[in-house]
């Protein structure tokens, strides 16, 4: 039946034909089957296909192999029925942890089992006996997966580390534009991008420059988040681990990393809630008891995030807001256009001085933020405050980069209040912050003066600082947040005085922040950041700041932190570019990152230990941290995806 030539045929025939491109020869395949006979045959077949084969008769071993060498394989073929671990379990782990294509195989050809494989994320399901013809083509799954990643990453200008040869990459890139079947978020991404480009040119450029490493990301829609919350609640917040949550959510395409990242954010978010109530009981009370309870500290916080992010051109915040809203069960109200408009009129920048003066009055007279709030002219209700945050956001979004300059001017005017704001701070009753603020205040004010006179970025910074100091309490950020950060800020200021450069400022950030996050060894090398980017970020922040200052003039440090966050992110971003660390950011990743950042910063100071705990507890955190830097640009995109249209009103 067979002639000698054919007997040897597969070796040459399978991989042959492409002399120029050896692919798929060398494809690294991990094959897992408890049946030694099948395993032996599969190994032989795969080798005949010129793949590099690692065989394994236990799922547990396979998993440890994969974990030990995450980039050591291109694809996994696994039997379904195995004694030590169900093949689907392995599939899940692999999908979540390594994000490798997994092919399931079984002699069981029942529809239910095949379907289970598909829903668990298997890229293919082979019925035993497996034919070599089927194995000849498994490389397509590798390419497809890579290409899907490309589709997302390519749009954001990222570079995907590819295991294959250069030709494959090229091909993928070429195909990327034509591919319409990729990740879900692509569509939103595209549309959002258009929108974004129309709005913010500078930021757009920024993105192009800095976004080099992204992977497809999950967009945490409100529905998805609610699923997530439901799972967490069912498991119990303390016992909820990413894997279980993922299992409960059972969302195809969602990876454990996605969930882990989100969970981290969610935990921080919860902690923040708790911390807020602890630290800022008084102030928050005024908010909570305000006319519109839905505008708790959180909502105001959200508003701020939005603002800051929007300003920075990293708008992930909206989705964050949505998430938070969903989590809180107050989906609405965050972004009310009407609100914002009103607020805007109320808080117009025209007479910052007046406001500042009033603020100072208040500060001197009242000891608590509540007073501040109430004292704020115009009889602003807490609600309005929250709205104010949103308003700003929108403003900034609308204005884009163009406004920055003008606002800077205003902010410089605002600087005046800074002194007052600082003085108010002690009265806030938050010790750590007070510490920070008080210590930092004098320098700042000095700086402010100098800087305000200059048009330099440094000046903006100082402005920002002042304004932000007052804001913290309202935002319900734990003021305690960043002792280290505060230090860094001061450093910044000093350095800026000396050199007056925005870059310097960032540099100052780096050191302190690094101390806090030991995980960021790379930061020290950050010298090669784009000055422009940094400037961008800050400027945008300034916008925010200005708005905020106009509105509140007295509250501090939140924005400051935010700035820090941004700065850090910028740094991270830059740093990571070269190192190309794990970029498993998905969809809402940037948003999450942002929020996490803020949250973390906030939590840090009082609870530096907390921070460390987090890291220790979960490697995820470190991974997240690493990732956080990257998403900067992406955030914008994601955010766009959520653009105003999607915001619950």
């Amino acid at each position: 039946m067979l002639n000698p030539g054919q007997g040897r045929g597969p070796d040459s025939g399978v991989a042959g034909g492409s002399n120029s491109d050896p692919f798929p020869a060398g494809l690294r395949v991990l094959v897992v089957d408890d049946d030694p006979t099948c395993l032996m045959i599969l190994e032989r077949m795969l080798r005949t296909c010129l793949y590099r084969v690692t065989k394994c008769n236990r799922a547990e071993i396979a998993l440890s192999l994969l974990r030990k060498n995450k980039n050591g394989f291109d694809i996994v073929i696994s039997d379904v029925h195995m004694p030590d671990m169900d093949g689907f379990k392995l599939l899940e782990h692999v999908g979540l942890e390594m994000d490798l294509p997994v092919i399931m195989m079984s002699a069981d050809d029942s529809k239910a089992v095949v379907l289970k494989g598909v829903t668990h994320g298997a890229v293919d399901y082979l019925i035993k006996p497996v034919r070599i013809e089927a194995l000849k083509n498994i490389w397509q799954h590798v390419v497809r997966k890579k290409r899907n990643e490309w589709n997302v990453s390519e749009h954001s200008g990222s570079v995907e580390e590819n295991t294959g040869g250069g030709e494959r990459q090229q091909q993928q890139r070429d195909d990327a534009d034509n591919n319409s079947s990729s990740a879900n978020n692509e569509g939103s991404w595209r549309s959002s991008r258009k929108r974004k480009e129309g709005e913010v040119d500078e930021q757009g450029d920024d993105k192009e420059d800095t976004s080099s490493l992204k992977k497809p990301r999950v967009v945490w829609s409100v529905e998805l988040h609610q699923q997530f919350v439901a799972a967490v609640n069912q498991l119990g917040v303390d016992k909820a681990v990413p894997k279980k949550i993922l299992e409960m959510m059972n969302v195809p395409g969602l990876t454990r990393e996605n969930v882990a990242s989100h969970l981290q954010k969610y935990r921080i978010y919860l902690r923040r809630l708790g911390g807020v109530s602890q630290h800022q009981g008084n102030m928050n009370h005024s908010f909570m008891t305000g006319p519109d309870p839905s505008f708790g500290p959180l909502s105001s916080l959200n508003g701020f995030d939005l603002q800051a992010l929007a300003a920075a051109g990293q708008l992930p915040a909206q989705s964050l807001a949505q998430l938070q809203a969903a989590g809180l069960g107050r989906p609405s109200s965050l972004n009310k256009p009407g609100m914002s408009v009103d607020q805007r009129s109320i808080f117009s920048f025209e007479n910052p001085k007046l406001r500042n003066g009033q603020m100072m009055m208040n500060s001197s007279g009242g000891n608590k933020q509540v007073n501040l709030l109430h004292g704020v002219p115009m009889g602003m209700e807490p609600r309005q405050f929250a709205g104010g945050g949103h308003m700003r956001v929108q403003q900034q979004q609308i204005c884009g980069g163009g406004r920055v300059t003008g606002q800077n001017v205003q902010s410089s005017g605002m600087m005046m209040p800074v002194g007052g704001g600082t003085s108010v701070l002690p009265s806030l009753g938050q010790q750590q912050q007070q510490m920070m603020l008080s210590s930092s205040v004098p320098r700042r004010s000095d700086l402010t003066d100098t800087s305000s006179n200059r048009v330099l970025p440094a000046a903006t910074h100082s402005v920002v600082f002042n304004n932000f100091n007052s804001e913290l309490p309202r935002n319900s950020f734990p003021l305690a947040s960043a002792p280290g950060i505060s230090v860094s800020y001061q450093e910044e200021v000093n350095s800026s005085d000396a050199k007056g450069g925005a870059v310097i400022t960032t540099a100052g950030f780096d050191n302190p922040s690094y101390d806090i996050f030991n995980d960021y060894p790379q930061h020290n090398n950050n010298n090669d950041w784009d000055l422009q980017n940094i400037g961008m970020v800050f400027n945008s922040h300034q916008d925010t700041t200005t708005a905020a200052s106009a509105a509140f003039s007295s509250s501090s440090s939140t924005q400051r932190k935010r700035q820090e966050v941004v700065a850090e992110q910028v740094q991270n971003h830059h740093q990571q570019l070269p190192s190309q660390s794990l970029n498993h950011m998905n969809g809402s990743g940037s948003v999450r990152v942002k929020s996490e950042r803020v949250a973390e910063t906030v939590t840090c100071p009082p609870a530096t230990t907390l921070f460390q705990e987090q890291y220790n507890q979960e490697d995820l955190m470190s991974a997240l941290l690493k990732q956080e830097g990257l998403p900067l640009v992406d955030n914008e995109f994601d955010f766009d995806g959520y653009s105003i249209d999607n915001i619950p009103v």
Partner: protein, 136 residues
């Protein structure tokens, strides 16, 4: 694959033969040896499970699933058919059917073993060059 094997082996076995080359001249025989060793273990397990008389059909089905999997992998068509029957009885909870079919499984398994041993013996006698020329 010789005529004597007709009906006992299917095209999967021929696939295995195609995988045999100069680098792996005894691949098919090695696979078959492994198969019989492992399937003997499974048969033993099933025997014990059946002897218990408790008829844990889930367990029986699991064993037979493995047995069937490796049998199909080497193209043992007749064994495979009996395995399928056995699993069908498991699903129906038909203990008597399981017992009866299992005897068939063992019988076919033993028959195949004999035939394959004979077959490999012939192949060895024919020499390495001839092994590649095996055909019906």
């Amino acid at each position: 694959m010789g005529k004597c094997m007709q009906g006992y082996l299917d095209e999967q076995f021929m696939e295995l033969e195609e995988l045999q080359d100069d680098v792996n001249p005894n691949f098919v025989e090695e696979v078959a040896t492994l198969y019989f060793k492992d399937s003997a273990r499974l048969i033993n397990s099933i025997d014990q499970a059946l002897e218990r008389g408790s008829f844990d059909f889930n367990r029986l089905d699991n064993y037979m699933h493995q047995f069937k999997g490796s049998s199909t992998s080497i193209g043992a068509s007749k064994v495979k058919t009996e395995c399928t029957m056995f699993r069908e009885y498991c699903r129906m909870g038909n203990a008597e059917g399981c017992l009866r079919t299992f005897q068939q499984v063992k019988k076919e398994h033993a028959t195949l073993r004999k035939k394959l041993e004979h077959y490999f013996q012939l192949a060895r006698q024919a020499g390495p060059k001839e092994t590649a020329r095996r055909s019906k």
